[in-house]
């Protein structure tokens, strides 16, 4: 792996170049609530010590609402126009638990149908990851096959050496090409520079065995285990919407007027009571415990059955942001201890 050194000043120059070229740059907002477009390069900040932004970076490939097509109609004709997704974008300073999520979602968006919207966006995206020095009671990346220093999903991976200097590893071909293109900003380095910084990162305290979790879920679909969660879960969409890997969506047509409108692909969430409501009035998941059971099974069983991946990067967002602090990490830890 090629390792380089880049100063914060040069990262700002890089950002400036990119903005001038018309590339959209995204990074966590100053209040760390979500990812926003960087307008001025000198406002670039990389904060490995910050907690994961409240809302993940998934919208870079899977926006909260996305036009699929536009339509016009009159008495005799209907005219359709495909929506064309996106310009080039660079995501700056993604934590490993954000960066890894795109590869996980990629599986479902290219399973029985190839989702051109997701794919195009991902193709046009360069991910600059950042080794993470944060962790709290809600993080558990190391229990789902990742770590605060994993490069999975990053094209370029940064490690902070000092406030003004970063090691930069070119992880993918895309990353290598990118470093080549801006080679005047990257100085040659070697892994001895980043090693001590990486080794000093301890990672989250929470540990569970995801195989044991799956073993229990495999055998216990009918269970009372989720009833206490169902007691207090409010059935909102917070957990799914802030999650970097949740990928359910709803298709709706919006008329601007009688003769014009568009078809939208909008985030949806399995914790909403209407999510599984049939037209007949029957609802197979007719209480909140069943809905939460679905959330845990989808992440720690069904997705593994189908795609051999856990549908969770351990970022802890869903739990930190949950209005009633339902903590998925502690729930699956308990499950792991049941077997």
């Amino acid at each position: 792996m090629e390792e380089y050194i880049i100063s914060l000043e040069d990262l700002k120059k890089l950002a400036d170049n990119l903005i001038k070229e018309g590339t959209d740059l995204f990074l966590p907002s100053p209040d760390n609530s979500r990812f926003v477009r960087l307008k001025k390069a000198d406002e670039l900040k990389l904060a490995p010590e910050a907690r994961p932004s409240d809302i993940s970076a998934k919208q870079a490939a899977f926006p909260k609402c996305d036009p699929v097509l536009f339509y016009k109609r009159d008495k005799s004709t209907v005219e359709l126009k495909d929506a064309e997704p996106s310009a080039n974008q660079v995501l700056f300073g993604l934590k490993p638990c954000d960066a890894a999520a795109f590869g996980i979602m990629n599986k479902v968006f290219n399973w029985d149908y190839k989702d051109n919207f997701f794919n195009k966006r991902l193709e046009n995206t360069l991910v600059i990851g950042l080794a993470c020095t944060y962790s709290d009671d809600y993080c558990f990346c190391t229990s789902v096959g990742l770590s605060p220093v994993s490069e999975t999903g990053s094209d370029i991976f940064l490690v902070r050496l000092s406030d003004a200097q970063f090691a930069a590893r070119a992880v993918t071909d895309k990353g290598i090409q990118f470093v080549k293109k801006y080679s005047q900003l990257f100085a040659k380095g070697d892994s001895s520079k980043s090693k001590p910084a990486l080794e000093s990162i301890k990672g989250p305290a929470r540990k569970f065995d995801s195989k044991k979790v799956k073993d229990w879920l495999d055998k216990n679909f009918e269970t009372d285990f989720f009833n206490p969660v169902g007691d207090t879960c409010l059935g909102c969409g917070q957990c799914a919407f802030v999650c970097p890997t949740c990928h359910c969506f709803d298709i709706v047509d919006e008329d601007y007027s009688y003769s014009e409108g568009r078809r939208m692909k909008n985030w949806d969430a399995c914790q909403f009571s209407l999510f599984t409501l049939h037209a007949s009035g029957h609802n197979p998941r007719d209480n909140q415990a069943k809905r939460y059971r679905q959330r845990v099974n989808h992440k720690f069983k069904y997705y593994i059955d189908r795609f051999k991946e856990i549908l969770c990067t351990g970022c802890g967002r869903c739990s930190r942001g949950c209005p009633v602090t339902i903590d998925i990490g502690s729930i699956v830890t308990k499950i792991g201890n049941l077997t």
Binding site: R34, D231, V242, W267
Partner: protein, 286 residues
């Protein structure tokens, strides 16, 4: 005075309720979360302190709790929502057993700088001593202090031109992701089928676009006008950080100044929205 655990035990031993909604420890220090307990054997993990931020009254109107006799731990502001629910005929007084909290104020947020400040709603609170309760319990005084920054913002918004105000809300609502956590946490958003979920016809655009977000947030503000009791749960739970209290508090102020009405204070007084008076003012409608 008795602590929350012995009070809860007493509730079950004296058969005052079938279930009790209270607070328990969450994963991290400094947080609590709601819990429902069903017998005296389950009460030992109940807690009560200035991290008890949730308004538990939102659980009273849930399908599974209807028809049950429910004991609930409630701070004064939470009791306001219980009073409002009774006034709006959503629950019956005799079906709720209120363990009122003598309250010295709660934290603004679980973590970070705001966890050292008192919640803004507590600064002008008129119900620190419960105004409707079956028994009361003391909450410790953590000596939290803080400033009402929102009051200044409301004044600032009032002094803006309509265009400036629109631009302010445009920037805020753009952030909404339509997770409906505000609605789900709100004790007074109890409609079985929210207007935002109706699709035949669709009243509120479901997309979290600028138009759809304006429609949603304004509908919610209107539906809570003259009803909102100011617990500020909606704002606290909003993952997008939208200052929803600016809307709700303004509506509360209008209800008070124009109609002399304060929601959540009396279960017997007619509700503002449910009554009509020829003398009702209308000058504020612009």
């Amino acid at each position: 005075m008795a602590d929350i655990i012995s009070i809860a035990r007493g509730v079950f031993e004296n058969k005052k309720a079938d279930i009790l909604i209270g607070y328990t420890k969450a994963t991290s220090e400094g947080r609590t979360r709601p819990v429902i307990v069903r017998s005296a054997d389950e009460v030992q993990n109940l807690v009560l302190n200035s991290s008890c931020l949730n308004n538990l009254a939102t659980y009273l109107t849930r399908k599974e709790n209807k028809g049950k006799k429910v004991a609930i731990v409630a701070k004064g502001c939470d009791i306001k929502s219980i009073v409002q629910l009774i006034a709006e005929s959503q629950i019956k007084r005799e079906n709720v057993y209120i363990i009122g909290v003598k309250c010295n104020g709660v934290k603004r947020s679980f973590e970070g700088e705001d966890s050292k400040k008192i919640a803004e709603k507590c600064l002008n609170c008129n119900v620190r001593t419960p105004h409707l309760a079956d028994e009361t319990v003391d909450m410790s005084d953590e000596g939290l202090t803080g400033k009402d920054e929102k009051a200044e913002l409301i004044e600032k918004l009032d002094s803006m031109s309509a265009e400036e105000r629109f631009a302010f809300w445009e920037e805020q609502f753009e952030k909404c992701i339509k997770c409906y956590a505000c609605r789900q946490a709100c004790p007074l958003c109890y409609c079985e089928r929210c207007i935002a979920d109706k699709s035949m016809p669709r009243w509120v655009e479901s997309s979290p676009t600028k138009r759809g977000n304006f429609a949603w947030n304004i509908v919610r503000a209107f539906h809570l006008s003259g009803r909102c009791i100011g617990c500020n749960e909606c704002e606290r739970v909003c993952p997008a950080g939208i200052p929803l209290s600016l809307l709700n508090r303004k509506m509360v102020m209008v209800a008070k100044s124009e109609f002399g009405y304060e929601s959540g204070m009396s279960a017997d007084a007619p509700t503002l929205i449910g009554t009509y008076d020829l003398k009702d003012k209308e000058e504020f409608i612009k």
